[in-house]
């Protein structure tokens, strides 16, 4: 918790620290303004009140890691062996070093390490600047003080007299030379030869198991373009067979995985970022089932002697060693470590007598421990063997088949090499001298080791000879170089928090209440559209510190004498409290009605109450029930259909929706790539003493194509309304893409049931309908260098679709049958490093009888995705 707190506090300071200008605008706007899509003017106010929030992630994470490391006396990623390995490998492999723009637009999206690249590049660049210019100058750059420039890159130029991009270029050149020297240092001794088992790198890889019978390695894999999965790697030809998707994978480890070699069963975990489930998988039949739901157990190790699984359970900050006996329907607590001691990477010897574990102490020291399972079950946690790795991590230690050794990896000398620990003698032998790094060893009977070799595209299964060596090359750490040059960094060590006199600092204790903590958050002028007029007004936001109860009130006025006087005033109110929503509006205005044909502003007043109940949350599976009630008065148009006149001016509507989604995608995706989603909705409109109920349902199903990030979707919908066919309340209306020229709704509006590109908005009505859309999402195009770091084009997403719609299916005399075919291209931009915008263009042609319009072109800019 200490280093997490140190890291996160840097983020707070980086955004909250204010110069005179921000202090002024925070007074003007009543606080720091959060940009909201409903009122895009808030983007400007956001920048005026929190300009350093508008910096790329590498900037924020880089400075946070740099400071966190030196606050911990040099223990951290700014002096980390993993970071050294990443950049050393890039130099060895002649991989691309991204520039700041390419990193944000592509490097953090398509690489197997995705956003971790922000940490890696950011930390490295900050360290380079500290090394070349001094830590003091680095702090002067990132600190927002009076006299500093608001924008992060402008301040860089002010402090260093150089463009940030030029300094980045200098760093890359410097890094190449620095890592060449490290490679030469490693090559002073014979480098361990290896033989790759796979033709390609496999991205992130879990602990792996070799099955001699099938000559396959079972492991979970996660690389760009394919959804994370458990796979079988053939040691004969290197081919990878996909066995089953992994729900909720993590980076690097993907999942916790173990293997029962007798019953040929793989055990693995899902929901690895949430509460982990334990599942089993038959690698032959691909059949899988959940054994323990939300068990929170990981670091699995199979005991071949009795068929039990050992694992580590995380609960409320505590790590507990557990045993899950066959048939794996319950777990038993074996031992709970005190808070701050963290065990990880378990293994059980083949005879079931011994268990190995790596253990981190609260002071940051790590050790490898070997314990008797019999002792553990008797409550004795004294290890029979123990090796202190100091500040280095002993990773993935596993028993040899004879149980005399444990093999694992460690950055003990700065490079991740394979080590063998002799349990009887306590001797630790190095078995490799790797240029990049070897991980996750699997000792084989023939003395060879299967290991995973690090590359810029992830881990590659490979074999090496398991021969002890004392000839290991040692590298130079950039962090060590910096602290040697600037010993004042040692003063950054904040030491233990144990001596902070917290009790004397506490000003109050009690229960946290929502109502009592609601405070004004910000207030600012807004512009909105009402029908074809402009309205000017003010928006006030309120919230509690956790933003569980956001509330806003907007009042505006249209000085348009063409409007009736009773339509010139506008007022809107919204309130959320957990799952509840309340709203009220009078002549509701909308910013986006200033642009384009789609209008959501409506005359009259409305009071609404809504509730969302999450019935299932098992990511990516979600089932939500939403219920809304609204009362409208003085209406002139239907609330959902702008081009349909309301026959009565009062309307009471109750709508209930049950919505399910189970959608998945692979690393580097720009859209959902497979899965299903459905919703069932019921609505009752009550007007002039008559009820007009309706029901409709949608079902989407899609699958990934072998083309990277390309998918096929079938989206279907059907519905029926009850009541007089001639009443607009008893009809569904369809037509148009539905996107406004400037918009904040879904950019893929043609996927919605009411959309029908090629015909005019609301042109097709029907008491009942059936509709289907066939959609092909083509492979997206990524852009590496299109724009500036503050405003750049990230990707282009092309799609083609064709739809069919039948309305009034029950009456041939009024039946409408239409089809269309169209295309849409979405261009994703990023503004101020954190605000995504999408420019969409589309064209569709509709076919059918009596169509008032046969084709449609659409262009739309979506503000904030």
């Amino acid at each position: 918790m200490n280093w997490l707190m140190n890291h996160e506090m840097v983020h707070v300071v980086a955004v909250d620290k204010a110069a005179r200008r921000e202090r002024f605008f925070r007074r003007v706007f009543g606080g720091k303004v959060m940009p909201v899509a409903e009122d895009p003017e808030s983007i400007l106010y956001f920048y005026l009140t929190s300009p350093r929030d508008a910096a790329p992630r590498w900037y924020h994470e880089g400075i946070a890691v740099f400071i966190e490391t030196w606050m911990a006396g040099g223990l951290g990623r700014a002096q980390g062996a993993y970071d050294e390995m990443v950049f050393r490998s890039m130099v060895l492999d002649k991989s691309r070093f991204y520039d700041p723009l390419g990193l944000a637009s592509e490097g953090t999206k398509i690489d197997f390490q995705v956003e971790v690249n922000s940490y890696l590049y950011g930390t490295r660049f900050m360290s380079y600047i500290a090394d070349q210019r001094s830590p003091e100058k680095l702090i002067e750059w990132v600190s927002r003080s009076d006299g500093s420039k608001a924008y992060y890159s402008s301040q860089f130029r002010q402090v260093f007299g150089q463009k940030l991009e030029d300094a980045w270029h200098d760093w890359i050149k410097w890094e190449q030379e620095f890592q060449q020297k490290n490679l030469e240092a490693i090559r002073k001794y014979p480098v361990t030869p290896y033989h790759d088992l796979s033709k390609r790198a496999l991205g992130s890889v879990s602990r792996a198991y070799y099955d001699p019978g099938s000559q396959k390695i079972y492991a979970a894999l996660n690389y760009p373009g394919v959804v994370a999965h458990v796979g079988a790697i053939s040691v004969q030809d290197g081919s990878v067979q996909k066995l089953l998707d992994v729900k909720g994978p993590t980076i690097y480890a993907v999942t916790s995985l173990t293997f029962d070699p007798q019953k040929k069963t793989i055990f693995y975990t899902t929901d690895n970022h949430e509460y982990r489930d334990l599942r089993s998988l038959n690698p032959v039949t691909h059949k899988s089932r959940t054994l323990l739901k939300d068990a929170r157990i990981g670091d699995l190790a199979f005991n071949q002697a009795d068929g039990s699984i050992w694992g580590l359970r995380h609960f409320n900050g505590i790590v507990t060693l557990v045993r899950v006996p066959s048939p794996y329907t319950k777990w038993n607590q074996v031992y709970s470590w005190p808070y701050g001691e963290v065990a990880y990477d378990l293994d059980v010897s083949h005879d079931g007598r011994l268990l190995s574990a790596s253990v981190a102490e609260i002071n940051g020291k790590h050790s490898l421990q070997v314990l008797r399972t019999e002792d553990l079950l008797a409550g004795n946690v004294t290890p029979i063997a123990h090796f202190d790795f100091g500040d280095s991590l002993p990773l993935d230690f596993v028993f040899s088949p004879d149980g005399k050794y444990v093999y694992g990896s460690s950055y003990y000398t700065g490079v991740s090499n394979i080590y063998r620990y002799d349990i009887e003698t306590g001797k630790l032998d190095a078995l490799s001298n790797s240029e990049t790094g070897f991980f996750r060893p699997i000792p084989r009977e023939d003395g060879q080791l299967i290991v995973f070799r690090y590359t810029g595209e992830g881990f590659v299964p490979t074999t090496i000879e398991a021969k002890p060596t004392e000839d290991l090359g040692a590298i130079t750490f950039l962090g060590a170089k910096i602290v040697e040059k600037y010993p004042e960094l040692k003063k950054w060590n904040v030491g233990s928090p144990a001596n902070v006199p917290l009790e004397s600092m506490i000003t109050s204790k009690g229960k946290y209440g929502l109502w009592g903590n609601i405070r004004p958050e910000s207030a600012y002028p807004v512009v909105r559209g009402y029908k074809d007029s402009v309205a000017y007004g003010y928006r006030v936001n309120f919230s509690d510190p956790l933003s569980l109860t956001p509330m806003n009130l907007t009042a505006s006025y249209s000085p348009d004498h063409g409007l009736p006087s009773n339509e010139r005033m506008h007022a809107q109110f919204e309130y959320h409290r957990y799952d509840w929503r309340a709203s009220a509006a009078y002549n509701a205005a909308d910013f986006y009605d200033l642009f384009g044909p789609t209008k959501t502003s409506r005359r009259g007043y409305v009071f609404g109450l809504g509730y969302d109940k999450l019935l299932l949350y098992d990511q990516p599976r979600k089932l939500t029930l939403s219920v809304d009630g609204k009362f409208y008065g003085n209406l002139d148009r239907l609330p959902d259909y702008q081009n349909v006149a309301a026959p009565f001016d009062k309307l009471f509507t109750v709508r209930a929706k049950l919505k399910y989604s189970n959608l998945r995608s692979s690393l580097g995706h720009v859209d959902d790539e497979k899965g299903e989603a459905w919703q069932v909705a019921a609505q009752n409109d009550y007007a002039n003493g008559t009820a007009f109920p309706r029901i409709w349902t949608d079902y989407d199903w899609g699958f990934a194509l072998p083309l990277r990030h390309s998918s096929i979707w079938l989206r279907s919908s059907a519905g029926t309304a009850f009541g007089d066919r001639l009443s607009p309340f008893a009809n569904f209306y369809f037509g148009g893409f539905g996107n406004n020229w400037v918009d904040h709704g879904p950019e893929k509006r043609y996927r919605e049931y009411y959309s029908f590109p090629g015909v005019g908005l609301d042109d097709i009505g029907g008491k009942n309908y059936a509709k289907s859309v066939f959609e092909w999402n083509l492979p997206p195009i990524r852009f590496r260098r299109a724009g500036t770091p503050g405003f750049y084009l990230s990707w282009a997403r092309p799609a083609v679709f064709t739809s069919g719609l039948v309305a009034n299916m029950d009456d041939a005399s009024v039946r409408r049958t239409v089809r269309n075919a169209g295309t849409q291209l979405d261009l994703r931009f990023s503004l101020l490093s954190r605000l995504d915008m999408t420019l969409s263009g589309g064209y569709a042609v509709a076919f059918g009888n009596n169509l008032p319009k046969h084709n449609e072109a659409m262009i739309s800019l979506k503000i904030m995705n």
Binding site: F46, T507, V627
Partner: protein, 115 residues
């Protein structure tokens, strides 16, 4: 028919009726710069440690940056994940969400300290 048509939405509304709305049993302590929220009693044992970590870090930030917070920092302790992590927002309010689960070293093959 009129009555029947109300049955589905009203029944769903009743089904959706929530437990009484409250701040999920959160307790808090406050210092000059900190509002620490936690679940009592399950996370009470972490409060002193979390508070000290915060104040220790804040003292350093004041020294290094000359930082004067514009408002208190709200820190919420959560146990919603099996992997320790955190996220922070500086806009519109200073808010830090801390997952109390241990760091998953298997997922972070780097040189880290756990505490």
């Amino acid at each position: 028919m009129r009555l029947a048509t109300w049955v589905v939405p009203v029944a769903l509304l009743i089904a959706a009726a929530p437990v009484p709305v409250r701040a999920q049993g959160l307790s808090e302590i406050e210092t000059e710069d900190l509002r620490l929220l936690y679940r009592d009693p399950s996370q009470a044992y972490l409060v002193a440690h979390a508070g000290r970590c915060f104040e220790n870090s804040m003292r350093f930030q004041r020294w290094l940056f000359g930082y004067v917070p514009s408002q208190k920092v709200t820190v919420l302790l959560n146990d919603f994940s099996d992997s320790g992590n955190a996220s922070t927002a500086g806009t519109p309010r200073n808010l830090m969400l801390l997952e109390t689960a241990p760091i998953n070293f298997a997922s972070r093959p780097s040189h880290l300290t756990s505490e």
